[in-house]
Subunit: 286 residues, 2 copies
């Protein structure tokens, strides 16, 4: 059996599958303090005999295996979770190999192996929701340099007419500060889900997301970019992003397959859990 945890800021999803990745048990647990939440996580896995586990966790986390704080959640603003040794807490109770990575990296891996990026070598998975983040697959592997990427915090240029100051506590008007769900809500004083399709909000949103996609395209030149997260549920947003992207690139970089190049996730909400199971399975072959 394989184990998988998708550790999010509001909920933890835990799953167990057989070696063919058929899920045999699954639970969703509210994210409270580490004590309360991990107790329930461990109770769930105690019912099963797993051989390895994959964890996709909200960040920032330490994924450098040579670091003293490998396996920790680090400087998160989330109360109680700062400097929590996630991997050791699990391993103290379940002594199996664990793959530990960011939620977006693990979801990127799920989409690469089983979803929209299947049969590509290089792909990017973005999530646009409460925050903006991304995971990158290069040459069929998750890239992790000195730290995991924080792709949502890049700088881009302002839309004409947008005087919203931005709500990123670190960078004000970086991409996340201008285009995350809370940024949209703060700028227009309405939840994104209630904003009409023809509202200027979506012009701004597609302009910012298209710029980010252009920047990632010009630097990584991936085969596909997958756009996940709650904001992407908005009808028409994806097609607005596609056309703005081509306008901004202005023929400079060859994207002749924009319909496929920018895709929604194929695994939907399961990208993270499936990515965790896949990483767990990879560990058995190491």
């Amino acid at each position: 059996m394989l184990g998988s945890i998708e550790a999010g800021g509001t909920k933890f999803v835990c799953a167990v599958s057989d070696l063919a990745l058929n899920i045999v048990d699954k639970v969703t647990i509210d994210t409270q303090t580490p004590d309360i939440t991990l107790k329930q996580v461990l109770q769930f896995f105690a019912k099963h005999s797993i051989k390895s586990m994959g964890i996709g966790c909200f960040g920032p986390i330490d994924i450098n295996p040579h670091s003293n704080t490998y396996g920790y959640i680090t400087a998160t603003p989330k109360a109680g979770w700062q400097h929590f040794n996630f991997v050791k807490t699990i391993q103290d109770h379940i002594d199996v190999p664990i793959a530990f990575n960011t939620d977006v990296n693990v979801a990127a891996y799920g989409e690469f192996k089983l979803g929209a990026a299947k049969q590509t070598n290089n792909s990017i998975y973005l999530t646009i929701g409460t925050g903006i983040g991304g995971g990158v697959i290069i040459d069929k592997k998750i890239i992790t340099g000195r730290h995991h990427p924080e792709m949502g915090h890049i700088f881009i240029k302002r839309a004409v007419g947008d005087d919203f100051v931005g709500n990123c506590p670190f960078h004000h008007d970086c991409l996340e500060g201008l285009a995350s769900g809370p940024a949209i809500e703060k700028r227009w004083n309405t939840k994104p889900v209630h904003i009409d399709d023809n509202h200027q909000a979506w012009q701004f949103e597609s302009y910012y997301l298209a710029q980010a996609i252009v920047n990632y395209t010009l630097t990584f030149a991936p085969d596909i970019i997958i756009l996940g997260g709650g904001i992407m549920h908005k009808p028409h947003l994806l097609s607005k992003i596609k056309s703005t992207c081509l306008t901004l690139l202005n023929g400079y970089f060859p994207i002749d397959d924009i319909e496929h190049y920018l895709s929604l996730p194929k695994l939907g909400d399961n990208a993270g859990i499936m990515g965790g199971l896949l990483l767990a399975k990879d560990l058995l072959h190491k």
Copy 2:
């Protein structure tokens, strides 16, 4: 013997080395039409018996070995060089394996193997001059997705007080349109080399380059970023970029080695030629 060509918009540098990479002959040739220039290139190599060759070429070029136009210079504005089949022209006269890549990718490889990025896994080489470009090494390999990166054309935000429209013919005020040598010259009506160290020009320049470095940092999380090209010869620019970079990151991403993290090239003007020889040598082991 190994061969190397650094094919630039104003000059071609050709070199031959022994297998230990000691250069035994070298020539610099003006870039004129392909006919005139390649004739001289071939005359130079006719004097030597080389086993393989590495070429770093100005772009855009086609480096996809599965493409029908692999080995071509593609949509360059440079008169006479559009759709020139570079690799075949060489191979028709010198029948050896050829590695063909962009000038910046090859220079990035040189700096990775022998220069400032030695003993790292992930590095970026940028050149800031007539244009702005970059090459990326991930996991000790040059990354090349669907196309070579065009990192100089990313979008960034405006400096307060800068109303220069930008001079990129494709994107107006992308990074290259705001921060290349010709952009500086057009904005201030003076060649960059004549602009005083305390001039506002260098505030703008360091702000734009620091934003680009922040964006590359947040997406690639490399071990080192190397800053080459003519504009970086300006004294004090590197230290301005470093401090602006830290200010913009605002503690969000761990860079505790900024002095080393942002470095000038160690191979100086030889990064391209040495990178070409290294790629030629790699071909012998394939």
